[in-house]
Symmetry: none
Subunit: 208 residues, 4 copies
Amino acid sequence: MTDPASTRDRILNAAEALFAERGLAGTAVRDIAAEAGLTAASLYNHFASKEALYEAVLERGVRPLLALLSQLAEGERLEGRVDVIDALMEHLARTPHLPRLVHHEAVTGGVRLARLARMWIRPLVNEALSVLKRQDAISQHWAQDEYPLLIAAWLHLLFGHFAMAPLLTEVFDEDALSRASLERQTRFLRKLSLLLLGRADEPGGSPT
Amino acid sequence: MTDPASTRDRILNAAEALFAERGLAGTAVRDIAAEAGLTAASLYNHFASKEALYEAVLERGVRPLLALLSQLAEGERLEGRVDVIDALMEHLARTPHLPRLVHHEAVTGGVRLARLARMWIRPLVNEALSVLKRQDAISQHWAQDEYPLLIAAWLHLLFGHFAMAPLLTEVFDEDALSRASLERQTRFLRKLSLLLLGRADEPGGSPT
Amino acid sequence: MTDPASTRDRILNAAEALFAERGLAGTAVRDIAAEAGLTAASLYNHFASKEALYEAVLERGVRPLLALLSQLAEGERLEGRVDVIDALMEHLARTPHLPRLVHHEAVTGGVRLARLARMWIRPLVNEALSVLKRQDAISQHWAQDEYPLLIAAWLHLLFGHFAMAPLLTEVFDEDALSRASLERQTRFLRKLSLLLLGRADEPGGSPT
Amino acid sequence: MTDPASTRDRILNAAEALFAERGLAGTAVRDIAAEAGLTAASLYNHFASKEALYEAVLERGVRPLLALLSQLAEGERLEGRVDVIDALMEHLARTPHLPRLVHHEAVTGGVRLARLARMWIRPLVNEALSVLKRQDAISQHWAQDEYPLLIAAWLHLLFGHFAMAPLLTEVFDEDALSRASLERQTRFLRKLSLLLLGRADEPGGSPT
DNA sequence: GATGAATGAGGATTCATTCAT
DNA sequence: AATGAATGAATCCTCATTCAT
């Protein structure tokens, strides 16, 4: 229980969990501080404001995620790229608060979202688009103006599982973040990705 | 005076928009009242509390949506069921705040979500499951324990587009709720549904 | 003790006294509210912010004072104008907080002061200047570029007595705001004004 | 490192400027420390408390001023004493924050003011009074019970110019602390002093 | 001497809610 | 129904001060 993490990191962890659960407005600075083992006043020795803390949380969470995502876009071809799905699922499983944070942002809109979208997500999407265009198989199923929808759909599926975990858990009576559940979702996504790319007949899991 | 909508409805409309945008905690009763052309004090002549108002908003929005969804599960077969997608998309387009409301709830968790999930959504999902099981074509692609994931995926795709509209708008530089965008998404979902059900070769749109 | 004044006025009175004594930064909204018989939260039903309250206090105090001062500048000649001194002294005696408020402002500088100075005080001073220039007697004693100093001096003497009342009271062991003290100061100012205008030999009080 | 002033003096200077501008309550220890190039924590290595610092500032500023003032009261006669005005104006010009500090104190009242008034200022005033009583010329214009008012007036004029410098600067569109402005004010005060003492006809400056 | 971090006490302001009118 | 005014409980944040390093 002796906390080895630096105070700053403890604050960031506490804030990440609470912001993800309750959103920015719904989270009290005092609660974050208490969770990190401090007074609210002390917290202000580490972050200038609630807003600044929120952005630090976003930054810390989003940066490695985007780094990982950019790997997907780097490859020339998509074949064998299903491993990226594994990597992403594993990463998200390790930071399960992040998708909810992003959802809060995405749903709310505002300047922060605009910055996030234009500076980080858009370039990624563009790169992903150019990769898609280089795939021949895909054009048999989808029109070019549907490529963006494909990307969006893929993100909905990937992030949705984590972000909506509380709902899924209630509905399916099984912890959506459990190892078993995540592995099943991973396999499912792999198959579905191949299906979307028009390679449903390739290996990746036949019906049980 | 010239406003034909009842005061109660005006409040509900205002509340729906603001709750969807800012969440429950982030929305001030005063702001809702002001948006509806009242004082906060007056609002309490129509709703007992902020909580009660929130639940009324949820109720008003979710009930017809669930009614519509239950139609999907009613049918014996899925063939021709793509029209349900049209109906749903049209319904959601008319109440674009609803998916964001649901997302706020789904992400947050808590008692309200549990109630919503167990009382309303679970029966729907179960019915949908039993329908899926009656489809032969589907079993060529998916294992039985993947059926719930199929349903979840389908909901992610359908709701995600609306809930994440602010983000999509920023990223793709096109209003995700515009008529054109919605029609494209509808076509896309139709094709994708058929693909998921193993009927990608059927009509529904070949690559442009 | 049943307070007939409107709540708003009671707040303004309490604020005037406290701001005058402790300055803007040194006064707690809670103290003002308490003095007016309210909670701090209630005070915000009447004024949007501490700043707004402060400006309302200034406005309420300064406006009638400037109206009175402008009478001085209206007259063609200064003869017999000593009655203006009486009027001003009486007015200030009735609102003894005002000069201290103005001093706080004058000493502090800032945007509010700039506005006060340019919009209200400067026109008054200019009018006073033009009156001075029409007096013949004055030019025997003072050069034209000393006229502004004369006006400033006159204001220092008039306001100083009230603003520094706490100090004067301590030093001279006599309440500087007592009737006797104020009457003596009035007589003194009358004589001194005549002296400044080069009419020391006219009536207005010979050495006891 | 290259700063020749001792840390203690740098703190005193910073504090003097800020206290003069914002008053005791309006000034944050952190701001003083920052202005002096320290942390607030470090400042406490030099002064025991904010109060102690404030008193040290007051002490450092007031002591030499009072020493200078006491020279005025020492002399037997007032003739030729106009040089004291020069000395005072020069002194104040070198520490332009001081009059504002004193004004803050004078306007606010309280224990510190009482001590200042009774221990330092009152003896000075008494001495000044006894000097005035020894002047013959003065009794032609002023009654004995007006002597204190004369002294007070003289102080209002002298200190007022510095204390109200921000206001004067705004109103007259000329820096009240500029060399030209101060020289003009010095000449003015000299003439006015002679006038008050009943020697307007003596040298000291005829109308330009 | 200097500093980063911690903190209790406050301080301005918001908020949901109530109530008399 | 509508509202102005009132309020206790928060909420974000600042401040003077302390202490270990």
